[in-house]
Amino acid sequence: MPKLTRWFIKTALVYLILALALGLVLASAGIFPQPFSVGGLTSVYFHLFMVGWVTQLIFGVANWMFPTLNREAPRGSETLGWATYYLVNAGLLLRAIGEPLLASGGAALWAILLVLSSALLVIAGLAFLVNNWNRVRGR
């Protein structure tokens, strides 16, 4: 299993744990008093699960299992692969921090975090597409 795949999959597992823990917090919000506001956390919960866990797991397995490109660069550009990893995780973390803070009436700084997060995530998607488009091919 390539190093990048291992990082994608292990990070995806961490996000799965985080998403389920957050789901627990959200489920207990109406039952137990919370020391903080849970506003904005539902969206974070969905994205930790669907982007952090599911999509990142797919990115990792695709990097490993898609047909190789050529002998020199079997998995496409290593740089683009790692860029996808860092961009998707940075984008997701910024969102997970910025969204609840903005929902609880935070400063303009949190709004800027969301804008930055949105840009990082879309560039991550583009980097993955560009790096894998030619690996999706017939024999």
Partner: protein
């Protein structure tokens, strides 16, 4: 990788990019409001990423990876292609309907097409799901 898988995974990659872009626009709008109408992208964002990206990638990979019949035969490929065409028509109708403000039956027709696509795919792939070494 068979031709249907190539087309289907490439379509899934495009849905990933468009779905992320719609999400980006809404998230930007959440941080710095530019236009409230951007929230109309939410159904397309969800449809494209859940069904177009993840769902389609799973079906395309199943077509590729699940054991084939003797001689490398995939089965009834017409059914497989019908399924992928129905799925993508459904995703576009159900996803873009609310964005383009189409009549509600368009979204309903899209969802019916998606359900039919999965049913057709299940009928197509069913005989290939069997114990190791057992040839049908």
């Amino acid at each position: 990788m068979p031709r249907l898988t190539v087309w289907s995974i490439r379509a899934a990659l495009l849905y990933l990019l468009v779905g992320f872009t719609f999400g980006q626009l809404m998230l930007y709008n959440k941080g710095i409001p530019i236009n409230g109408a951007l929230w109309r992208l939410l159904p397309a964002h969800i449809e494209f990423l859940l069904v177009g990206w993840i769902g389609q990638l799973a079906l395309a990979t199943a077509h590729w990876i699940i054991p084939r019949f003797r001689g490398g035969v995939y089965g009834n490929l017409k059914l497989a292609w019908l399924s992928i065409i129905l799925l993508n028509s459904g995703i576009l109708m159900a996803g873009l309907g609310p964005v383009l403000n189409t009549p509600r039956w368009v979204v309903l027709a899209g969802r019916i097409a998606e359900a039919a696509a999965v049913l057709v795919f299940a009928i197509y792939i069913w005989p290939r799901i069997r114990p190791l070494g057992q040839e049908p």
